[in-house]
Symmetry: C2
């Protein structure tokens, strides 16, 4: 029997088969936990083979749909393929695939948008029912049958623990040199048996390097050699730089007032160009000795680690550009000492986010003048991606910052509105709102006080008078004046956008 350097367990080496053969082992109606987080570490081959089976089955007028639970977003080979095959009955949590999103918003399938720190425990509690199968990408299978995770950890521990059966995809593209970067915490328990999580700083390792796996549960091992999604980032634009600059100026102000140390506090940073701009701004601003306790390692984090701006970064996943991957592989021994990948119930755990006092920095769709945040919906009804981990960090961190350009769609949409069309973060959970126009520090302000600073500091000049007008008329005509609103008009900007494609009259 051939035991190569990726599949080091003889019994599991004997279970190697093609993706098509593995997909034959999957049945209609199954609940499947899959690996994958922000386009990293998802299975690349079995989902596509499963999609092909689904299409063939549907052509015979027979049903074939499954429930798909992941860590977060995956890629066309998983969410795209299964959605195109009309093979997903229910999907959770975060997703970002265009085909999947279109089907959700046409009402053709169900989607649950859950805090990323809640997913694993809800599965343990039995709230999602039985997990029939786990389909997990690994970098290697160790001699004892445990798995070296690949470029994300996400909910893999949970799916492996709970699923009746397991299919492992061993991806030869994933660098074996990642060995030692993962930290899988096995100290969790169900209440009332839970203990404190013994993590005091982002660099602490509290777990094991490999994912435990009962080899008897494995029904197939499939070998692949395929890259992660690895989307390229757009070069930093002026708007992102201005947003980042406003936030960093605020950090300096807080340091000057003695409310933040020069080394700040552990950074949590959402994904995307604004987040990368903030990271770049920290480097240019001469910060050093910082650390990150976050979800995702983006290109910007590598940069900061290389320049000692960041000492350590704790996350649950990578989300690198092709250039970022090359850089990572070039200096993997350097990065292995400075990057820790954890399970997502730990990377996002409220206990840890609060203890560490994270500085949460997340993007958004829109904010309203009273500081409520919509992170997920266009005009209140169409989902974009999902709340992700923003709530885990915004609710529990030291500072909860939300960042957006002040307008979208070439100015046709204001990202500051009278009332958000969907609430993901309430007025109780938002410290700071930042646009390229400026920064609104909402700490200690009542709703009316917040409205003034949000309109003055964050709104685009082309919308500021409209917001001012709304607020002043609401101050006069609202029944209650704690949170003044004109209910007939509060969502009219969104309706106008739906009707005319522009929020402006």
């Amino acid at each position: 029997m051939h035991v190569d350097k990726r599949i080091r367990h003889a019994g599991l080496a004997a279970k190697v088969m093609t993706a098509a053969e593995a997909a034959e082992l999957i049945d209609h109606g199954m609940t499947i936990g899959m690996s994958g987080f922000t386009g990293a570490g998802y299975p690349k081959s079995v989902p596509q083979a499963l999609a092909a089976r689904m299409v063939a089955t549907h052509e015979r007028d027979e049903p074939f749909r499954v429930r798909v639970l992941t860590g977060a977003s995956t890629a066309p080979e998983l969410d795209g393929a299964l959605a195109r095959a009309d093979g997903i009955d229910l999907r959770l949590p975060y997703q970002s695939d265009p085909e999947l999103r279109a089907r959700i918003n046409r009402g053709e399938m169900d989607y649950l948008d859950i805090h990323l720190s809640h997913v694993a425990q809800y599965a343990w509690f039995g709230f999602f029912g039985k997990i029939d199968l786990a389909v997990i990408e690994a970098t290697a299978i160790m001699p004892d049958g445990s798995l070296m995770a690949s470029s994300s950890v996400g909910n893999n521990k949970t799916w492996l623990d709970l699923a009746d059966k397991v299919i492992v995809e061993v991806n030869h593209w994933q660098p074996l040199e990642m060995d030692g970067m993962h930290d899988i915490y096995y100290g969790t328990a169900l209440p009332p048996h839970r203990k404190p999580i013994p993590l005091l700083k982002p660099s602490d390792r509290i777990g094991e390097p490999y994912l435990r796996l009962d080899p008897d549960k494995v029904i197939a091992v499939v070998e692949t050699n395929a890259p992660d999604r690895n989307s390229a980032f757009a070069p930093l634009d002026d708007c992102s730089r201005q947003i980042a600059g406003n936030l960093i100026e605020f950090f300096r102000h807080e340091i000057a007032r003695g409310r933040l140390d020069k080394q700040l506090l552990p950074l949590q940073s959402g994904v995307g160009n604004i987040a990368n701009a903030v990271l770049a701004g920290l480097r240019e601003g001469g910060f050093s000795g910082l650390n990150a306790f976050t979800e995702v390692i983006q290109d910007g984090m590598l940069d900061l680690l290389e320049h000692d701006v960041l000492s350590v970064a704790s996350a649950t996943s990578f989300s690198l550009s092709p250039a970022g991957i090359e850089r990572f592989l070039d200096k993997i021994d350097f990065f292995r000492k400075r990057i820790i990948l954890r399970t997502q119930e730990i990377s996002n755990h409220p206990e840890l986010v609060r203890r560490l006092g994270c500085i949460a920095m997340n993007g958004m769709v829109e904010a309203d003048i009273y500081g409520n945040i919509n992170s997920t919906h266009v005009a209140g009804t169409s989902i974009i991606n999902g709340i992700g981990g923003s709530g885990d960090f915004a609710r529990n961190g030291f500072l909860s910052c939300f960042l957006t350009p002040s307008t979208a769609k070439n100015g046709a949409v204001s990202c500051i509105v009278p009332m958000v069309s969907h609430v993901d973060h309430t007025e109780h959970d938002v410290s700071v709102i930042v646009t390229e126009q400026g920064l609104a520090d909402l700490r200690g302000l009542s709703p009316r006080q917040r409205a003034k600073v949000v309109i003055e500091r964050c709104a685009h000049p082309s919308y500021r008078p409209m917001l001012q007008d709304y607020f002043e008329r609401a101050l006069h005509n609202s029944r209650g004046k704690h949170t003044p609103h004109l209910l007939q008009e509060a969502l009219s900007w969104h309706q106008r956008f739906l009707d005319s494609g522009d929020m402006r009259p």
Copy 2:
């Protein structure tokens, strides 16, 4: 010098003065941290004397307003008196005084509605600025100058630690027999120096019995002899009993499915008649060996402790009726072993609520068909009381249950609406909605699936067809069908209520 059994520190006994004399030491513009939580343990005398000074000052056309920070709600002697004197510039957090509420909703003063677990740390972080003065009710002053807290702990530790100066009200009405019930945790720290909180079960004592106090900060000691607010509860009505019955039936169902143990998990229970009905229902239902990790000890909790339904109750405050007080005093030795009063940053701490896996049961104003909850506002603009600790428990607990009658105002208002007019708890944070009509279990359901069960199970029959009609038209006409809405109509029920006093056309 007379050192009586309540004021056991000679230096502080020398600072005894009248409330009027103490009020002379308070200046316009001060930020004052006061004791008090759900009408218990608030200063009874100095705020009234301060209000009198304010009125006199205002009569001379001079300004006199202060910022008032408390634990939660107080009583007419504090919030009522200061509001009536137009003496509050800003108030936080939770309040429930009619006069104060009216002024907030007329826009005459600012009010900040903050998660109760966040207040102390925001003060430590400096987010509220300098705390000039603490006015704290105590049961007694100990020989070393520390304070035996009275019927609530709330944020007293924080105000005593942070304030430049301290006024102590020693209330002879508060029973000295409470000695030993309080547990003041001094292991907190600012990030990055925080450690795990060493509490593993509701009965754990992790702190000290008395509030530390530097006697040099004390500028006045005032003696009082006045009862807490002690509102009587209405007898349980049929509607409350039905709501409670529906929830308890659900608990039994969860026990039968193996998702809950017979002893449930630590109960958190909001304040009011529905909460008391749930507690009564647990007793009648034969539950035993339960425990509570909650904010407030109500009459119903005493009942459960006496009958061994509850083994222990951890909270930060009492909120007893006059009959409840008598019962408590009659058996205070019994209750002292079974009740622990903590600081509110511990009673509501996200780390602990998640670790213990609390069952959160809170009232609400309205829910929408997608599971968003409004806990605070009438028709989106007028505040009622505040979010209190509901978010601390709903976000982090094992189960997050929201309870309400299906209608209010004799049927003129539906508590299930197309879209809530204010969001305090998002769709991501709500497991179960209960009315007297039934219970909607939202776990694992997408928005459209939630809408069906909320309408079917929770809405009042007189509103059910209207909700069904809205949902069906939204399913057809909504741009996005993930969360189907008709934006022009979504808040029209509230507008109709404002226009006609009735949500029905």
